[in-house]
């Protein structure tokens, strides 16, 4: 499982902070996106495509198109600077991926469930990126947009406002 030790200089963004990240971002690069519909990366991309307004940029050198979206070989090739780079790679690749995200001046370095690297988090944080680790961006998006609630999950949302 995940290394439970806290990472010096980094804390997991709170729920409110994760909501701000998702609300203020417009472009998401999905690093390690797969064309295989059974893979979590494909599943998450399909969710974001169907349930959000983000501009989505799958990144995988082995593909040219995924779910009808143009696929890019690396973050440098993107036509935009991605607000969030969502990472579907192995833990041992995270340092290199963080370096790539820093080089591409991405805003948020976000690793999916099961992915965790203290050194990658530290270098990305030091370079001014926000870092979210071991969180599913699909689930976090669904938390704030009603999906998790409809599926019976505790969103933690207590709110007397109509919105």
């Amino acid at each position: 499982m995940i290394d439970a030790d806290a990472v010096p200089g980094w804390i997991q963004p709170s729920v409110a902070a994760r909501r701000r990240i998702l609300d203020t971002s417009h472009t998401i690069a999905v690093l390690g996106a797969s064309a295989n519909t059974a893979r979590a990366s494909n599943f998450v991309l399909a969710y974001l495509l169907g349930s959000s307004d983000y501009r989505l940029y799958p990144v995988n050198p082995n593909n040219t198109e995924i779910l009808g979206l143009r696929c890019y070989r690396d973050l440098e090739s993107l036509p935009v600077v991605a607000d969030i780079v969502v990472v579907f790679r192995r833990n041992e690749d995270l340092d290199a991926v963080a370096t790539e995200a820093i080089g591409a001046r991405c805003g948020v370095f976000w690793t999916q469930l099961g992915l965790w690297s203290a050194s990658a988090a530290q270098s990305a944080t030091a370079a001014g990126l926000e870092v979210v680790m071991n969180r599913c961006i699909k689930i976090e998006h669904a938390r704030f947009h009603g999906g998790l609630h409809l599926a019976g999950f505790d969103t933690g949302v207590v709110d007397s406002r109509r919105r």
Binding site: A16, F43, A46, G50, D154, V157
Partner: protein, 465 residues
């Protein structure tokens, strides 16, 4: 002495997580808030799962009495069916009124999420069959509601799922019964009707040492008195029919999962192997800590269909709003009645873990500090089975029926009713004696409950207090 202290606030009841930072546990049920405010139990009982309806502004969760929901277009329908999108398809799988109930229970139990069912029994069946298949095995407390014993020993065994029943007060017995096909350990927080208190922390430790989840039926305790997930349980099951509904109006059940168990260990292939019906996704890979509840809804509810009715969910939401106050009243009355009975010469014994001399008193205080023992307990009338029957027939206020957790006080003779389908051996293992009378103490005036007990005991034994 009994000492219910109204409004007693433990850190957990105030919504403060028990010291775990977000990294130590993959899921922190209290750390999903918009603001940093940690709302308390009573606040969440009113608000969790119930934001004002975005379309109408309705403050109370509306009853969505509909079977199905229109799709935006063909792609939307395809995405929903493939689980690529969250949303509503058909009320068997989800309904907004039911969702509100599920989220509220999950919040009060401190779980990651919940799935409602048509009854407590349906909830148990969904959990067991989600984890065990033909050839598999479960280890369970022997002191359970009789219907649960027959589900395991009669129906599940017909489908090749075998249960070893063990003494719930002996965690080592649970450990010794495990084999390589065991998938689950099961107990009731407060055993029905024996009143044995499960040592949840120890049972969880034993279960986890074998790579197994601990499921606890916590119907008699409710989250107002005990939150098993805080003690290490992985799955909490309720018959919402009882105290959660609280008024004897509706059948319902609910399963809450902690979101911390490792379903990817390999012992539970249904979580890690490709799911043919959902484009070969893998529950554990795709949903992580959300996998169990997601699978319960999309495999178990889809295939078995024991869905909670929206109107029942509405009534259960109302029940939860006052749960903490009602449980305070139930426990206050129950403890006073138990003490009164214990001092009565016409009563041979009282088995209530809220009483100091109960062998379960220490565990009751540990796991239910705000109301040890709950409000359901048993006693024996002097004169055995015959006197017990005469006592029940002489009652005028207390209702003789097969339920517990109503606002009204209820009475039952387990050996001839709820547990009548068990063998003598099962009755013995279940702690059910022939003279046992079960009381579920309600919210009437205490003096009136005691008046009825007194006059019925006089009629049954021809002796006064």
């Amino acid at each position: 002495m009994l000492w219910y202290k109204a409004g007693f606030a433990t850190p957990a009841r105030l919504g403060v997580s028990a010291g775990a930072n977000e990294h130590a546990r993959t899921h922190d049920p209290y750390n999903h808030r918009m603001s940093d405010r940690q709302f308390g139990f009573r606040t969440r009982a009113l608000h969790a799962g119930n934001r004002p309806d975005p379309r109408t502004g309705a403050r109370t969760t509306p009853i969505f009495q509909t079977t199905s929901y229109v799709f935006d277009d063909a792609a939307d329908a395809a995405d929903l069916f493939a689980l690529r999108k969250y949303g509503l398809i058909y009320t068997r799988l989800g309904n907004p009124t039911v969702s509100a109930f599920e989220e509220r229970v999950a919040s009060l139990e401190g779980g990651i999420g919940a799935v409602a069912a048509a009854s407590g029994h349906a909830a148990e069946f969904m959990v067991i069959t989600a984890l065990a298949s033909a050839g598999d095995h479960i280890v369970s407390s022997s002191q359970l509601y009789g219907g649960t014993v027959t589900m395991m020993s009669n129906t599940l065994s017909r489908f090749g799922i075998h249960t070893t029943f063990v003494d719930p007060t002996d965690p080592e017995a649970f450990s010794a019964a495990v084999n390589d096909r065991t998938k689950l350990m099961f107990a009731e927080t407060i055993g029905n009707p024996s009143g044995a208190i499960a040592d949840i922390a120890k049972l969880a430790e034993v279960a986890h040492s074998h790579g197994l989840p601990l499921a606890v039926d916590s119907t008699f305790a409710t989250p107002a008195l005990c939150r098993p997930i805080e003690w290490g349980a992985d799955i909490v099951i309720h018959s919402a029919t009882k105290f959660i509904g609280g008024h004897g109006t509706s059948l319902g059940g609910v399963v809450t999962e902690a979101g911390t168990f490792d379903w990817g260990s390999g012992r539970f292939p249904a979580f890690t192997e490709p799911v043919r019906t959902y484009n070969d996704l893998r529950w554990w890979d795709n949903f992580g800590e959300y996998a169990f509840c997601t699978r319960l809804r999309n495999d178990q509810l889809r295939d078995m269909g024991p869905t909670m009715a929206p109107f029942n969910a509405f009534l259960f939401l109302l029940g939860l709003e006052t749960l903490d106050y009602r449980m305070a009243g139930h426990v206050a009355n129950a403890s006073a009645v138990a003490k009164w009975l214990a001092e009565d010469r016409r009563v041979n014994w009282v088995d209530y873990s809220g009483l100091l001399d109960s062998p379960h008193h220490d565990l009751a205080c540990k796991y239910m500090p705000d109301g040890p023992g709950g409000a359901v307990f048993t006693f024996g009338v002097d004169g055995g089975r015959v006197a017990g029957a005469a006592f029940i027939e002489a009652l005028e206020l207390i209702s003789h029926l097969a339920n517990v957790g109503d606002a009204k006080t209820l009475v039952l003779h387990p050996a001839s009713t709820t547990h009548s389908q068990l063998s003598d051996e099962q009755l013995n293992a279940g702690g059910v004696t022939p003279d046992m009378v079960r009381l579920s103490i309600g919210l009437e005036d205490l003096e009136d409950i005691i008046w009825d007990l007194d006059q019925a005991l006089t009629a049954a034994t021809r002796r006064s207090h």
